[in-house]
Amino acid sequence: MSTESLIFEKGAPGRTAAELPALDVPARALSELVPSALLRTEPAPLPEVSEIEVVRHYTHLSQRNFSVDSGFYPLGSCTMKYNPKLNEDMAALPGFAALHPLQDASQVQGALQLLYDLESYLCEISGMKRVTLQPSAGAHGEITGLMIIKAYHRNRNEQHRNVVLIPDGAHGTNPASASLAGYQTAELKSDARGGVDVHHLEQVLAQHEGKIAALMMTNPNTLGVFDENIIEIARRVHDAGGQLYYDGANANAIMGIARPGDMGFDVVHFNLHKTTSTPHGGGGPGSGPVGVAEHLVPFIPGPLPARDANGVYSWQDAGPLSIGRVRANWGNFLVLVRAFTYIRFNGPDGLRHVSESAVLNANYVMRALQDVYELPYDRTCMHEFVVSANRQKRHGVHALDIGKRLLDFGIHAPTTYFPLIVPEALMIEPTETETRETLDNFIAVMRQIAEEAENNPQVVLDAPHDSPVGRLDQTLAARKPDLRWQPAVTND
C-alpha cells in the first residue's frame, strides 16, 4: 500500500479552503495599529490547499487508523469499550458546545446543574465525599490527588512524610506523578497470588517509619487481580499515618460491585475516558476527576459547583486550605457531558451489569487461552488478565510479535511487556461491549498464533503482513529525530 503524502506536499500557491466574509469595518494599515517590529513580515507558511484536498487527505489518514469502531481492541488497562454515538450527539448540543467558560452563572445554569449532579454520581459510585471535576486526564488526577495528600500532611505538620509506596505492577504514571509531586517512591513486591505482598509491605512501612505519605494502588491491579487483602493493607497504611490512593484506571471492573471508599481508600481518581465510555480520541482528551474522603475535602481544588436552597447553581470558591486550581477553567466539560449521559443511560443496574459483563468476558477469554499461553497467576480475574508468551519465546516468538500478528486479523494488539513483573506479558482487556462471537474469534486467532509460533514462527515474526506499513524503525526515529516537515532546499 502506498503512503499518503503530507498535507504540505499538496496544493498549489494561492489555493485555499476558507472563505471569510469581506471585512465590514474600515480597513486601516496594519502598521498604524501595531508597531512594525511586532508584526509578521510574511504569512505563516501554512498549506495552500482546497477543501476537497483537505477532506480527501484527512479521510485517507482516518482510513489508515485502527479504532474501536473498526475492530476488537483488547488493549489491557485502556478499557477500549464501545463509545456510544448518543454521547457524541449530546456533547455537540449548542447549549453545551458553544458556552464560554467565563459566562455569568445565570447563563449557564444547565451546565452547572449537570456538573453538580455528575459530581454526586461519581461520589456515589466511588464512595467518596466530594469530587473535583478539574483534572484533564488520569495522570493529571494522580498529581492532583497527591497534592491533596501533601497538603493534608502539611496541615498536620507532618511535611516530613515524603515516601509514596507503589506496587511493582503499577502503571508508569504512578511513580512519575509521585515524583512530580516531590515524593520519593518505594516499591512494593507482589506476592505469589499477584496482590501486594503484605509481609513486604510491613517491612517497607517499618523501614520508612514516620515517613509514609501514601500508598498508590489499583484494585483490581494491573494483573486484573482483585487484592483480597485490601482491608488489611488499608489498615496497615493508615496505622503508619499514610493515605490510600486509588488509581481508577481499572474501575470498569467494580462499578456497583464494590467502592474504593468502602475498601478504605482516601483519594480516588477516575478515568472517565475508560470507565464511562468517552472516546480516547487517539490519545485524548480524557478526564480524570478526583474524589476524596471527608477529611480531605478542605484541600481539593476549587471552584466547586454549588446549589442553593432555591435550586440556583453557582461556582463556590474553595476554602483557604485548598491546593488551588490545577488547570484553567472547570475541566474537560464536553467529556463530562458524555460521562453524565452514559451514567444516566445505564442507571445503577446498568452500571453493575457493565462491570459484571466485563469480568465475565475477561474470564471467558482467559480460560479459553490458558492451555496454550502461560497464565502466571491462575485465578479468577476481574476485567482483564495477563498471560505470558514464555512458551512461544522458546520458538523465538515474543509478546511483541504476537501483538503484531493479531493486526493481520483485524484485531488490535493487547498491551505488551506490561506489567513489568510478568516476562513477555500480554495484557488483555476485552471489555463488556464485545459479542461472544468476537471473543470466540479472538480466542481462535490467539490459538492459531500459538500454533504458528511452534510450526511456522516466521509468519509471526514477519507480521504484520497486511497493514499499510510494516514494522517501523524505532531506532532510526530516536537516533535522528525528524519531528517536522521542512520545505526542500532548492539550489538555484
Partner: protein, 453 residues
Amino acid sequence: MTYVPNTATEQHEMLRAVGAEKIEDLLTAIPEQIRLTKLLDLPPALSEPEIRRLMTRLSERNVDLSHAISFLGAGSYDHYVPSVVPHLVKRSEFYTSYTPYQPEVSQGMLQAMYEYQTMICQITGMDVANASLYDGSTGVVEAALLAVGPRDTGEVLVSRALDPQYRATLQTYADVRGFTVREIALEDGATSASALEAALTPETRAVVIQHPNFFGTLEDVHTLEQIIHRSGAIFVLAFSEPVSLAVLAPPGDYGADIVVGEGQTLGSPLGYGGPALGIFASRSQYLRQLPGRLVGKTVDNRGQTGYVLTLQTREQHIRRERATSNICTNQALLALAATVYLATMGKEGFRQVGEQCLQKAHYAQERITALPGFAPLFSRPFFDEFAVTTPVPAAALNAALRQRGIIGGYDLGLDYPEYDNAVLFCVTESRTRADIDELVAALEEIAGETHEH
C-alpha cells in the same frame, strides 16, 4: 438497555464455560464486607429518547453563543470553525482510537500529529513542538518545571499580565514542588521592563511573558528578550489567543526559548472551557527535556515512510519516576482539529482571520472609547482585546448588557483590584460591524440611564 451485547442466555453459557454458576462466583476475591449488597443510589436508567429530552432541556437552560452576541475573551476566543473541521475530526476511525502504540495500524493519527507538530512550528517559528498538553495553563507549568529542573532549584518570574488562571495553576504546582514564583509588576498594561530588570536574580531560571497579554496588550517583547537573556534565564512566551500568531511576529523570531499556549480555539468548540489544547514548542536544544508525546518520521521494513511515537525514554511508561513529565493521555483529538483547521484556513485564510480580528477590535475600541465616560485603560497597542474604564460598575454594566442579549467583556476587577470598573472586551472575526454597533449603542444607553438616575 446497556451497550452490553450478550444476552442473559449467552452470559449463562459463558459462565458455565468458565466453570461458574453465577456472576458472583467470579467475584469471590472481593471480601464480603466490602461487596455492595444493594444498587448504587443513582437515578434510574433512561432510554435514548428520554436522555435526549433531558439533555436538550439542560442545554437549553444555558445561553450559548449562538443565542447571544459575545464580546467575552479573557483566555477563550470565539473564532469561526469551518464545517469541514468537525466532519473530519468526528470520523470515528480517529476519535475511537487509542494513543498510537501500534504504529503499523495507527499511521493516520501519527501522520496527523507530525503535521500538527510542523504547523505549530510554522506559526510559532520554533524548532520543535510536542503532540499536545492539557491546556495553556498546564503548558506554563511544564515550561516552568523544565526550567527549574528535577531539583526545583531557583525561581520563576511571571508577568502580572499572565492570565490569572495560568498564574494560579502554576502557583499550585510551585507550592508542591517548592520552587518560588514571583510576579513582575506592570506599567501601562504591559510588563514593566524596569521591574523585570529589578526582579531578576542569579536564581531566576525562567521568565514567563504572555503576548498578547491577558489585557490583549502587546508586550515590548524585543526589549524584554534582551533583559531576560542577559540574565541567562529561559524566555517562556505564553499565549492564550493563538490567532494572534497569524499577524504578530513569530516568537522564534524574537528569541523565545519555549512557547506555550492555548490552542482550543483552533478548530474546537469552546465547550465551557474544555477540552482545551495545550501547545508546547521550543528550541531544539530542549528536545530531550520536552514533556509529552513526540511523533517522528522513520521508515518501515518495506522501505516506506512511516511515523512513530519517538524519544519515549523521556516518558512515564519507560522512565517511571525519572520521567520529564507524568503526562500520558493528552489532547490528541484537539491537536487533530487544530491541524485540520490550520490546513483549511491555510496560509491566506489564517492571515485574514488574524487581520479581521485586529481591524474589528480596533474599530470597536475607537467607537467605545469615544462614548462619554468610557476611556482606554491603557495606551499600548493591542490585538483583539482591549480594556476600557466604564462609567458604570462593570458587574452592573454586564448585567444590563445580558438583558439586551449581549455578553459583555470580562470584569477585570475580579482579578485585578487595581483595575476596578474596567472591562476587557474581545472582538474576533466572528463579530460583524452590526454586532459592534449594537454593543456601542447598548453601552451608550446603559451609561445614559445610569447617569440620569
